[in-house]
Symmetry: C2
Subunit: 277 residues, 2 copies
């Protein structure tokens, strides 16, 4: 069966690049206009996997996707850290000296602010990075450029004038791979895994401390904590925690049993091989 | 000295409404186009206070404002929970039956989705709620309405056709009041206060658990935890914690001294009277 990976954005988006880097070149990809549509594509079987950005090392969490993970019953089966590097691209034959405008997503423009100022280019906001590359191709105007991925340049037949435009090179986006299967990934006792869980807590003094104790007292390392509001219960939260370990290991199972004593709601979103780098 | 309160948005914005509810009717207000401009207005003395939305009970934290709190040296001196209730408003003489379109901020439109669908109105996106009210006034067209605050209707001379348009009435925004003064607010031993702090931690197993222990072991109640990425250090975080108590009380001072043993960076953003409701 072909691996078909749904992602949010247009062909050439960073999410599509991450899909190819994670799964390899032989996959099919399915562009979707919204994150909701990505979940639906996998839920309805039009795609085998979803690739979902969950956090950027400069901009922070993509909070909407935490909410969608909770609403959906897809399971996390992998993670991938993509190094985000913006390329300045224009139609073949264009030159740096002839450029006037650069189109891109506001976040990409912000991340290349210093370089763009030095180059004296006018920034124009677009809905997404790959869409701005498509626009540059369609216009055919050698005075306009796009900031997008190396892959977008290939997809739209554009020429890369400058690679690595970003002011801060430590720019990574963490993606999650999701499937419909309710199976956990294979487990090996000496493997290196992460597990993602979501839970609620009673509004009592010290309750978050107690919840974290189930991990700390078993030397389980947390890599991320995120909270999201519970609709209709002002100032109460769902907590999302990523920790090192697999749900099938005895120590993690005991920690989750212990957490279940404290948490009125608890769900394991998945255990998956940890990506270093 | 007149109290002048800087806020982000146009006259009639929810932030301006919160400013009047918090400070009273005798203040002057200073509309600013961005949150950065709000901080600058207070920093440069053009306003005595800033009123900054930090969290909505449905949409979650306004993360950009956490980053700005860290960058700025303004101090938090108050908090206010505004009940957000959207009114459907149009020019005087307009009728519900004659309406075709409703303009507003995407979040307000989303929060009234069910009612708007029942009423068969086309939703049109605007930059902010108060700006949509101004547009309805300028157009003078009785077929278009805005979703905005009761105050926006008064500011722009519009007629409220339906109040309480939101699908979920448990819609509150928490605002912080900021000033330049580095003084803490008055402290009374039996007073009811909150304190906001921001700190970093070494990336070590169990370190967040240890950090929370400085509060839990002293029975200090946490009301909020938020994390934001540290620029240039992928997957490391600044933690923002709100807890019940005043920095001048001995128990809180000891907790913060203890936290300082663990945290390479620690700053108190302010202690202030707690707002219930």
């Amino acid at each position: 069966m072909t691996t078909t990976v749904a992602f949010q954005g247009e062909p050439g988006a960073y999410s599509e690049l991450a899909a190819y880097e994670y799964f390899g070149a032989q996959i099919a990809t399915l562009p979707c206009s919204t994150f909701e549509a990505v979940f639906a594509a996998v839920g309805e079987g039009r795609a085998t996997h979803a690739l979902l950005p969950i956090e950027n090392s400069l901009a922070g969490s993509i909070h909407r996707n935490y909410d969608l993970l909770l609403e959906s019953d897809l399971r996390i089966v992998g993670e991938y850290h993509l190094h985000v590097s913006h390329c300045l691209m224009a139609v073949p034959g264009a030159s740096l000296e002839g450029l006037r405008q650069v189109h891109s997503h506001p976040q990409a423009l912000a991340q290349c602010q210093r370089r763009l100022r030095e180059m004296g280019l006018e920034a124009v906001i677009a809905a997404d990075t790959a869409g701005s590359a498509r626009l540059v191709q369609q216009r055919g105007d050698p005075t306009i450029a796009a900031l997008a991925s190396r892959r977008a340049a290939a997809v739209y037949g554009l020429q890369i004038l400058v690679a690595g435009m970003e002011d801060n090179p430590a720019n990574y986006t963490r993606f999650l791979t999701l499937t419909r299967s309710q199976e956990n990934t294979d487990w090996q006792e000496d493997g290196d895994y992460k597990t993602s869980v979501v839970f609620s807590l009673h509004n009592q003094p010290g309750v978050l401390f107690k919840a974290l104790s189930v991990f700390a007292l078993r030397d389980i390392d947390l890599t991320k904590i995120e909270s999201r509001p519970i609709q209709g219960q002002p100032w109460e939260y769902m907590f999302y925690i990523d920790f090192v370990g697999h749900v099938r290991s005895q120590v993690c199972q005991r920690a989750l049993d212990h957490l279940g004593e404290l948490a009125p709601f608890l769900r394991v979103l998945g255990s998956y091989p940890r990506h270093h780098g």
